[in-house]
């Protein structure tokens, strides 16, 4: 568990270096990634993977909105770091590898799941954005 906390923090922060995120945003990116990943791991034990991803993304999105307001930077900087551990890159690769190895059934399964997961992430991000907008309108 602690190992997962540390690795997800480092993974999210270093991924943001590859994406050339500003230096002063790296720690926050790592934090968002860590929260998202741990939440996902906990939820995944009881719920469906897609729903767990969706819920974790919503939380990441809300955290990113908050960071974006506070540090006056676009939301995407933080949300990218936050969702990176959950993004189905590994699945997309698995799908392609199975296609290449001529195991089409397995490949389609992976591909569909990757698509569903990215759908869940995208919906989660949009939902958190909508929530943020509603709250802001109420505050006015």
């Amino acid at each position: 568990m602690i190992l997962q906390l540390i690795t997800s923090f480092i993974a999210a922060a270093t991924f943001c270096i590859l994406f050339n995120a500003p230096k002063r945003a790296l720690l926050q990116c790592g934090f968002a990634g860590m929260v998202g990943w741990i939440l996902y791991l906990q939820l995944e034990k009881e719920l469906d993977t897609v729903i767990a991803t969706f819920a974790a993304t919503v939380v990441v999105g809300v955290i990113s909105q908050f960071f974006a307001r506070y540090y006056k930077m676009p939301v995407i900087i933080f949300s990218v770091g936050g969702i990176i551990p959950m993004v189905p890159g590994g699945l997309a690769y698995d799908a392609m590898r199975n296609f290449v190895e001529n195991d089409n059934n397995q490949a389609i399964q992976y591909a569909v799941q990757a698509l569903l997961l990215s759908g869940a992430i995208a919906t989660g991000l949009v939902l958190s954005e909508v929530l943020g907008q509603m709250l802001r309108r109420k505050a006015r």
């Binding site: 690795t7 943001c16 050339n20 900087i77 997309a92 992430i121 919906t123």
Partner: protein, 255 residues
Amino acid sequence: MDSTSNNINTSAHDIIDLCLLAGKIMLQSGAETYRVEDTMTRMAAALGFPGAHSYVTPTIIMFTTSRTEPVKLFRIAERTTDLQKVSEVNDISRRLSERQLSAAEARERLGAVDDSAHAYPIWVQIAAAALTGACFTVMFKGSLWDALPALLVSGLGYAAVIYLHRLVQVRFFAEFSASFLIGLITFFSVKFGIGQEMDKIIIGSVMPLVPGLLITNAVRDLMAGHLVSGLSKGADAFLTAFAIGTGIGLVLSLF
């Protein structure tokens, strides 16, 4: 009369150019389609053209300020993810809207942003990729012993991508050969007992190359109604994943 209308025309042209430059930087840096459109129309509105229209896809920006102005077009050939540039252009456009910057100042700053290089030196990027690969190997339930070869392999893989991109202009070739390299080294390190689970090491190590974010952005664009952008980003992601899968698959079929 003639000279004033000429004046208005040139300033309109300048403003179109300014907005296009901002849009170009953002799109090349991997901003979402709606953000690019939003930023350009906001900048135009701040400079006195409230009715600006834009059409943005991953490869092209079209922009006009009004019905009487011709539409200008910009072709985007290369795209990376560069959050620093997205953030800076965002900042410039916000200041422009708040009248803290003049159009000339904004143009100067945008030019500087456009010319600026990646903020982190290459060895830092390679080290970051190596750490990312190792951490992902652990996160995907690989053991700590697998993280060690993953550290080496993903660093080498990312370095290969960077250098091959400069060397060869063919798209996806760098991804293909880098993942071939990753597969090869992983295979031999497992064979010589440095790592245990080949699958875990490979998945962790290809993570810095894999287009996960692109897939998510594609779905997001589709949901926002940017159908053309969504589909073309999806195709881009598919081809990249295909190149990586082929590279690894080749190693697996060779041995």
